[in-house]
């Protein structure tokens, strides 16, 4: 079976950044609420 091309990893990085940024923002927002538990 053929291994993925080196350039395909750039596309993988872009795709993950596109879904990762909103997910990270959502996690940050949730952490801001969650931290109230520890104050």
């Amino acid at each position: 079976m053929e291994r993925p091309s080196a350039s395909s990893w750039a596309a993988v990085a872009i795709a993950w950044i596109l879904v990762g940024i909103p997910l990270a923002w959502g996690i940050y927002q949730t952490l801001q609420t969650a931290v109230k538990l520890f104050r």
């Binding site: 291994r3 596109l18 959502g26 949730t30």
Partner: protein
């Protein structure tokens, strides 16, 4: 848009395609539909859609709006069950596009419902049509991911299903931002927010659907060979047709496994935050006294801490999805569910003791671990099904199994609410009324443990013959 553009044949990946492009496509869809969990953010503004600053005569009650949740999960389960076979036959791209139209379109119909102040349009738009979008979107990437990651089935489906748990983390604060932006002295801003979010989700889901690719027949990851069947009897290399799968005891045992795990988890999610507030009361803010003895200001502070606890639990819920599903690739699916039920039983029974001992960190830690296993149960079940029934019909089989989720959406809340009401009516103090509920939920885990213990490899007669399998493949091309 021609049907060719969406057909399965168009999305067979060429040589050298990178399989790691498929999980973000699946995440784009699951993060969008996961907003279903965050819809309560609209209840308060919608309950004063006429009065704007306060509810006025003719405004909707929150209990009326809350029916949308019920519709979401009933139609998620039923559409996944009804359309699962269609999704397998037509491929993930067409299913993802259909889900985008249903979910995004549901928001637009709901916006019209807000404009005309017709609750029926909200129920049909978001609840029924959007609920069908949930079902289609939820199952659309499952079998595709399992086929791309035969070596890490649990991790692959865990990544997508993590998105469903995380969707509300993005959607709820986004909805708040948009409602604040759009609100005017004559509008609460929900109508415009529905339109904006509907369009955002439509585009994101289309992008995800068009990112789906299927592996070519016979494709395997470079350097990987399937394990010999005799070494791992709980992982079959053969195939069971969806119509045969539902005749097997294994399907119904796994149905009970999911039903019990989700029912207990839903019960805990519903009561964790109020339980923390009522059990610890003033201790949470460093003052003596039960919750009922606190001033209104102190109660607000305690409620804020309760909201923080709920947020923390949602993080552990999504973390558990990727953690446990990935772990199941090493532990095995059956052993992973044994851990859920055995460890879960201990923790559900220990929670009241942590409350009695007034140890807040222990109490919080117990619930956090419980929530990882609730999420993990969702994320690990597709790989369990693929192990038992093969990969060809796993999407359709998973769709039918999700009716257990709908059943859990009924059983969990009913158990929690009725047990609590029954105890309070009999004079049990509010802070102690949760204890019996936790023990009953632990009992559900015992049932799940027994069902999981009875799961054995599927009997020979249920597998497709080579001829049937060849005809099945020919029919799908």
């Amino acid at each position: 848009m021609s049907s060719g553009l969406l057909s399965k044949e168009r999305i067979i990946a060429g040589p050298g395609f990178n399989r790691w492009l498929v999980p973000p496509a699946a995440l784009a869809i699951h993060l969008s539909i996961g907003m279903a969990y965050g819809f309560s953010v609209f209840w308060l503004p919608l309950s004063r859609a006429i009065g704007i600053t306060a509810s006025a005569p003719g405004d909707w009650k929150i209990s009326t709006l809350g029916w949308m949740f019920t519709l979401f999960f009933v139609f998620l389960g039923s559409s996944a069950a009804v359309f699962g076979r269609w999704v397998e036959g037509e491929g993930p791209r067409k299913a993802g596009v259909a889900a985008a139209f249903c979910w995004g379109g549901g928001f637009l119909i709901s916006a019209l419902g807000v404009r005309l102040h017709q609750i029926l349009l909200l129920w049909i738009g978001s609840g029924v049509i959007g609920g069908c979008g949930l079902g289609l979107g939820y199952i659309s990437p499952v079998s595709t991911l399992i086929k791309w990651f035969p070596d890490r089935r649990g991790m692959a489906t865990g990544m997508a299903i993590m998105g469903f748990g995380g969707g509300a983390m993005i959607g709820s604060p986004l909805a708040n931002l948009l409602m604040n932006h759009f609100k005017t002295p004559t509008s609460v801003g929900v109508q415009e927010t529905f339109v904006t979010m509907g369009l955002i989700y439509f585009v994101a889901m289309l992008a995800g659907a068009f990112g789906y690719r299927l592996p070519a027949p016979g494709w395997q990851p470079a350097g990987w060979t399937p394990p010999p069947p005799q070494e791992k009897a709980m992982i079959t290399q053969r195939q069971v047709h969806v119509n045969q799968a539902i005749r097997t005891p294994q399907f119904w045992l796994l149905w009970v496994v999911l039903w019990m795990n989700v029912s207990a988890g839903i019960g805990v999610i519903g009561m964790a935050s109020p339980m923390l507030q009522e059990v610890f009361g003033g201790k949470l803010i460093g003052v003596a006294g039960a919750l009922r003895d606190l001033s209104e200001d102190q109660k607000t502070q305690v409620a804020t801490i309760g909201a923080g606890f709920a947020a923390l639990l949602s993080l552990f819920n999504i973390g558990g999805r990727i953690f446990w599903a990935s772990m199941s690739d090493y532990l095995g699916r059956k052993r992973t569910y044994f851990i859920f039920f055995a460890l879960g039983f201990v923790l559900y029974c220990a929670a009241p003791s942590a409350g009695r001992a007034a140890v807040v960190p222990l109490f919080v830690a117990i619930f956090c671990v419980i929530l990882t296993m609730y999420g993990g149960g969702f994320a690990t079940i597709p790989a369990y099904l693929a192990d038992m029934f093969g990969t060809v019909h796993v999407g359709a089989i998973h769709g039918r199994l999700l009716t257990a989720w709908s059943a859990a959406g009924i059983l969990g809340p009913i158990l929690v609410n009725y047990i609590r009401e029954f105890q309070i009516d009999r004079g049990v103090p509010a802070a102690q009324a949760y204890n019996t509920t936790m023990y009953v939920l632990a009992g559900l885990l015992v049932i799940g443990f027994i069902a999981n213990a009875r799961v054995r490899p599927v009997a020979e007669r249920y597998y497709m013959t080579d001829d049937q399998f060849a005809r099945e493949l020919a029919g799908k091309r």
